[in-house]
Amino acid sequence: MTDTAQRLAEIRGGVPPRRHNARTIAALTGNPGCTRRAVLDSAGVDKPKLAERIGFPARFGQSRFAITRGNAFEAQVKADGGTELLRLVAERLGVPVPAGATWTDLGGAEDLPDRHERFRAALTGGGDEPALFDHPLLGLDVAGRRVHLEPDLVAARLGGRFHVVEIKSFPVIDGQADPAKVSAAAIQSAVYVLALRELLAAEGHDPELVSHEVVLVCPRDFANRPVASLLDVRKQLLVLRRQLDRMDRIEDLLGDVPAGFTADLAADPAALTAALSGVPARYAPECLAACELAYFCRHEARGHTTALGRPVREALGGIADVGEVLALADGVRASDPEQAEAGALLRAAARLRADALAGSPS
């Protein structure tokens, strides 16, 4: 075990690392500047449990109605050996619909290494006839550790190229879908594209055989009939690679972390809170939708302008502390030379606000 791995294991405590999936890897790209998050995620700390332990439980529940609907739609699309799916994907990619394709379901209860090997063989061994691979097992290095991904996903080989096919149950209505859901799907798909490319490259194939165009299959309008759309994930691939590279250099980040820092769930909550406070975070309101620790970080960021959102902080001249903003605005505090401009702006704003509230003409 390397020093870094040893250090991360200490941070995690005596439990095995939490398993990553595409969703958690995709979430890593959300706030790349946050050291606290990068360290905890690299160590594989169970953040939902940690948040609960320190009294700030995350709220990322999923309705069972949504899960049922998602599973039903996926089963429907994959029915009949993927005939309908093959037609949808081929038509969307603009290639002739093949008379048939091999359907390989790689899901199963066998051991991980075995499945991984089977997928590698299936993917790189055959020729380039049309083929669909369900439940592929993919691997990706995250923070120096091999992470296995078991996506509910189909990799399609059509016209000699591989395409990631993502089946999602949110509707596409008149050609438009919820932008937040589409972008979440795009970044998750990018994780799979990246993993597929690494697998091909490791076998000496051209990684570009995996297309950056992902096929998204969703229900159309208000019914259950599927419709396929193309998503270009090149941008997401760049973002993802940058963040994964950054996590590979976790040693540098660990330099910012106090020695003896631990997020061991067995520790006393007060000790955990104190330990976490020693690792710098970069809270933004967007974290609330992406990170399990966000409610804790928000509590910690009270009184800081960042907690109000980046546009607010910028409009306040980049001053970090609410108390300082108000002191500068009231003229109680003289501004440092580097804050001179922000101080003048805030004083003018405070004067105008008071003037207007007192009934100046408009």
Partner: protein, 503 residues
């Protein structure tokens, strides 16, 4: 985010209470708004689960869909909602008023008032838009007939959703947006989308501060979300068993009505807190005096309502799924003009909004120190009245000589900057030459020229009429925009097979 608004947010944090960012109300508020609080079924494509609807606090009607995946029940819900909404709309179609057009040579008629729909948040508007989309193409005849009121409701909901995109319209309003237009909280914009938390900052319970009230409101156990999305915990632990009980009771009338009553009880419990918050929001907004130009914008909503009612009466069809190129360009242009004029009107109506423009140098306030109301310019072909005034201000004046300014106190008058003299004491003397708004003669009627001692605001923002752009006819759509639309086969109804299984 303007610095002034950001400062108000910082002050809200320090005070523990939301701070005003407006001194007047910038939207029309009906005496009888129809409050609609919808809930949607998780995972489904905009499937209604329940709604609480009514035009007064004590007139709440609860609509429930016991099996949201069942298509017949969805359309039964739509018909029931149509019964309430269409009746409400009809109540505004009694009395008309005459409006002069074409410089008074002609008149047209419009209804004296218009309906107003209030929903909790922007997601509520999206829900109504998509519900309108899912119902407006349905037919009362053919293979899968629906009640005739269903497609009509769909068209009206689509009308309201389109109005909601029109800046300054008050036909369909999200309560969170109406409130944040007037108050700044000590939390972020994302958190302001949660109506209970927002009202926690605006009106915290006695003895607590905004941040505490907002944190309390974030716990779905004690404060249900304001929809349309439900709390997943509520779905899993309470709603799913109650729905299952309803399905199992099939064939046993007594058990079925008991199961239905239980569903109603659960959903009423989720909706009632939001219903109460909506009316508290209405009360807070009502307490503000209305801005001077609000009525003018509401006239635009009355025009739109009258126009669409007449279109429907004349047998007009449902709105297309997508606008054509020309229609889209015209619509975009209209929205841009409305956005510009809405921003200017709010500044004219409200010194606190104007202060944002003063901070950026687009406006200044000063005292009139000299006035020559009788000045006549006779250098041209015929003499014209051009009074001059001198205004002294302590604010930075960033406009150049020659610029045209306007004063909200006399919006029909232009003031050209003639001289700018910065003084040593940080004050600036501005000499302005006035034209317009003083009648046709060579003597200005009393009150049309500012007098010495008056304190006035001058701004580069103009509330003058913005001329409409010219757009080609649909059949002359340029090739850059796809060319004239081809008359092809009418697209399929687009809703898939209505008999399709939903589970």
């Amino acid at each position: 985010m303007s610095t002034l608004r950001a400062l108000a947010k910082a002050q809200a944090v320090a005070a523990g209470l939301a701070q005003p960012v407006a001194t007047v109300r910038h939207l029309h508020l009906s005496d009888r708004p129809l409050v609609v609080v919808p809930l949607a079924m998780a995972g489904e494509a905009n499937a209604p689960l329940a709604a609480m609807v009514g035009a007064a606090r004590d007139e709440a009607r609860l609509l429930v869909v016991p099996q949201p995946r069942n298509r017949d029940q969805r359309f039964a819900f739509a018909a029931e909602l149509a019964g309430i909404v269409l009746l409400y709309l009809d109540s505004f179609r009694g009395v008309s008023e005459a409006v002069p057009v074409d410089r008074g040579k002609d008149v047209r008629y419009r209804y004296v008032d218009a309906p107003q729909l209030l929903v909790p948040n922007p997601a509520g508007i999206t829900f109504l838009r998509l519900f309108g989309r899912s119902t407006r193409f349905r037919r009362p005849d053919g293979d899968y007939p629906v009640h005739p009121s269903v497609p009509l409701l769909g068209r009206w909901l689509t009308f309201f959703a389109e109005r909601a995109e029109h800046p300054g319209s008050a036909a369909l309003v999200a309560m969170t947006e109406a409130l944040t237009l007037h108050w700044a909280t000590g939390q972020s914009a994302v958190e302001d989308l949660h109506l209970p938390a927002l009202l926690g900052w605006l009106d915290p319970p006695p003895g607590s501060i905004g941040a505490e009230a907002a944190a309390w409101a974030e716990d779905p156990e004690v404060c249900p979300p304001a929809g349309p999305a439900t709390d997943p915990d509520f779905d899993n632990r309470r709603l799913a068993p109650a729905m299952a009980a309803y399905v199992e009771a099939d064939g046993d009338p007594a058990a079925r009505s008991a199961a239905y009553a239980e569903l109603e009880r659960l959903l009423r419990g989720q909706l009632t807190p939001t219903w109460e918050l909506m009316w508290r929001g209405v009360g807070l907004l009502r307490a503000l005096p209305s801005g001077a130009r609000v009525a003018g914008r509401w006239d635009g909503d009355k025009d739109a309502f009258t126009g669409y009612a007449e279109y429907v009466d004349d047998g007009g069809g449902p709105q297309p799924r997508r606008d054509g190129a020309v229609a889209a360009a015209v619509r975009l242009h209209r929205l841009e003009r409305a956005l510009t004029s809405y921003a200017v009107q709010r500044a004219y109506d409200d010194p606190l909004v104007m202060a944002e423009h003063r901070l950026t140098g687009e406006a200044f306030v000063g005292d009139v120190t000299l006035a020559d109301p009788k000045r006549v310019d006779d250098t041209g072909k015929r003499p014209v009245l051009r009074p001059r005034i001198q205004v002294v201000t302590t604010e930075p004046v960033l406009v150049p000589v020659g610029a045209t300014l306007y004063s909200p106190a006399r919006p029909g008058q232009k003031a050209k900057v003639v001289f700018l003299t910065p003084g040593a004491d940080g004050k600036t003397e501005v000499v302005l030459e006035l034209s317009g708004g003083m009648g046709r003669g060579l003597t200005a009627p009393p009150g049309t020229v500012p007098e010495v001692g008056e304190r006035l605001c001058f701004t580069t923002l103009s509330d003058a009429f913005l001329p409409a752009g010219n757009f080609p006819a649909t059949e002359e759509t340029p090739w850059t925009h796809g060319g004239p639309p081809t008359v092809g086969p009418v697209p399929e109804s687009g809703d898939g097979d209505p008999a399709e299984e939903w589970t």
